[in-house]
Symmetry: C2
Subunit: 384 residues, 2 copies
């Protein structure tokens, strides 16, 4: 039985992770649940999974939760308690299902305690790829990718030598606006953006999918997970989201991973690895599937890819600035403060203005994150 | 440097194998070349690859070859010399590139001498699957598949546990007559049949592709190579021949192997396994590839699949009878003695008439092969 800590348990990844646990009750025990502020759902999760520790990062939400009694579960609240939850007790795998830069500190804490990471929080690797991969290597900790694309790479690499990788073929659905141009994108609404064609996800990542910033973040994530160069990562638009990614090897052979678009599969694989166990995922029926299509991404219109390659190639603190600017811009878009295409404007402005510091420490990154956010806010207030 | 014996060196697989060797001169030495009767090509191969032993199975061809001088190469001729070539000297891998039942004895001989088999002669496993797999297991010998489909399964299984296999998805181009019905097939010519849309292969296998008997043989081959049940093997028509086969695992995940249709890739992988090395295969370009399509095979019209499942499920000597009847029928078709659809008639008649003997010995199989051929000839002479 593997002992799990699930951070971000009330989010999209968190609830699907608990569904995986529910389907394989003999395999897992939930030691820790941690979330932000959804008291009602969190309370139900505690009752069902009976963790030893349950933490809400939001103080007010924690106060409300404390009014209930949960026998056998220690409660805690606040940002520091959330970070400490990553290190709690004897959990073996910490699943990082929270979104954004906030995932960095708990992830580092868990690695420092020698816990394997089931990584759903891609921003961690984007912002601090070098730092995290070095730390994980030093502590002998496994980074198990939960993203469907990186989970696909991970599966395709089993039994292979990483030095044989020629190219990572990172597939992208293309998002809800595939084929559209600036004149259309200028006036799209939040509602348009949140109608993703193939994946049902959290709001932030759904916006990132529409801008292709999500694919950009995944490029940087892939670079650090698999130690390749940026020119070895090629994005391929594949609207059906059946092929979750592919690896081309030096002999010209390509290994691909396919499945119905259901996040429970990469989550389960990360948690049961190196085993595979039965799952409730609907099998693909190739007699009915008809056609899988592939095309070149429109990188002129969807500038998320361009920013990511640029941030990644400069390295140092620039991916952190890229990510921070994007987080602020997406938030502003979701609140109706800026338009869809302004997201690119914010990122572009912040990336131009931030000097790049190489080999950043955690403190450098926290400072960079703050400063990039400040600049992004300033740009939104003054220019838009 | 791996030492190779290449049986069937002048055929389609043999010449492509020598091309692989030519591209990786540091990796391989050719210890043995053996072919049937193509003196001119064989003579050139001996001069280029300087094997220790060179054998022609055809006595007359051998006599003609003996008129030339080859320094450092011992020459031999005749059927027995061909079989013995499989056991010669210190070759580590014997590539079985000959076609048909004739591959069985040399393969058994090589396994008995503890040599790994790069298996291109699928009839060997079809006819004697149980016998061969047991023998290989007892002798600690690897069977490395050279067929593009079984090579794909082999690649997809690296790093995986065979017990996690749920289904083998065996892809088929569908052959030159995909979508056609009996009224069309009744009058197709040898020339129509030999115009295969995606693969350039030997004549016998090209006819087998058109009848789907080839795919049927591959079903039986897959059953023995990967120890699955017949109901775990699903044929999927995929006209582009880019996905060379796929494996569905118990968690619903599918691993697929893709490449340009070029036999040198599975040949090279079998020979360099477990390594991958650079190859001259044209890489796939997913930005240009557009679409991969999949459909259900028309098993009512193309009865090769039905015969194979039936032969496989009965087991014992029946796959041997199936294969013998097919070899005779294909030969008769290529010589213009029977029509295309008569191939099914011959197979059907022979399979109906042969009693099934379980757990056959090599002698049983040789006898079964002879008797099934006799019946097939009889049917062709008397009924067609």
């Amino acid at each position: 039985m593997k002992r799990l800590a699930i951070l971000g348990s009330t989010g999209s990844i968190g609830t699907q992770t608990l569904d995986v646990v529910r389907n394989l009750p003999e395999e897992f025990s939930v030691e820790v649940l941690a979330a932000n502020s959804n008291v009602e759902l969190f309370s139900r999760q505690i009752k069902e999974f009976r963790p030893k520790l349950a933490v809400l990062a939001d103080e007010a939400a924690y106060k409300k939760l404390s009014e209930e009694k949960f026998s056998g579960t220690e409660l805690a609240g606040g940002r520091q308690a959330f970070i400490d939850a990553a290190a709690f007790g004897d959990s073996e795998i910490v699943l990082t299902g929270m979104s954004g830069f906030a995932g960095l500190e708990p992830t580092i804490k868990a690695i420092n305690c020698g816990k394997n990471i089931a990584l759903a929080n891609k921003e961690t690797l984007v912002v601090a790829g070098e730092l995290i991969t070095k730390l994980a290597e030093n502590r002998g900790v496994k980074i198990l990718p939960v993203d469907s694309e990186h989970g696909a790479f991970f599966q395709c690499l089993q039994g292979e030598d990483r030095r044989s990788i020629k190219k990572l073929l990172l597939t992208a659905s293309g998002g809800p606006f595939r084929g559209k141009k600036f004149d259309y994108l200028r006036n799209v609404t939040v509602k348009d953006v949140l109608a993703h064609p193939t994946w049902n996800m959290g709001k932030k990542i759904t916006v990132d999918s529409a801008t292709l910033v999500n694919k950009g973040l995944e490029i940087i994530e892939a670079k650090f997970l698999y130690g390749v160069e940026y020119n070895q990562i090629q994005v391929v638009v594949h609207p059906q989201s059946i092929v979750h990614s592919m690896i081309e090897f030096c002999d010209g052979s390509i290994i691909a991973q396919l499945a119905a678009p259901d996040m429970r599969l990469p989550i389960q694989y990360a948690l049961t690895y190196p085993q595979r166990l039965p799952s409730p995922i609907k099998p693909l029926d190739f007699w009915e599937l008809k056609s899988l299509t592939f095309e070149k991404p429109d990188a002129e219109t969807f500038m998320g890819l361009k920013f990511a390659y640029e941030a990644g190639k400069w390295g140092g603190t620039l991916p952190c600035a890229f990510n921070a600017a994007n987080e602020v811009a997406v938030n502003a878009f979701l609140r109706g403060r800026i338009k869809f295409l302004d997201i690119y404007g914010v990122i572009d402005d912040v990336m131009r203005r931030r000097p790049v510091k190489q080999n950043p420490t955690l403190e450098d990154l926290i400072a960079e994150d703050l400063e990039a956010r400040r600049l992004a806010e300033e740009f939104i207030k003054e220019e838009i």
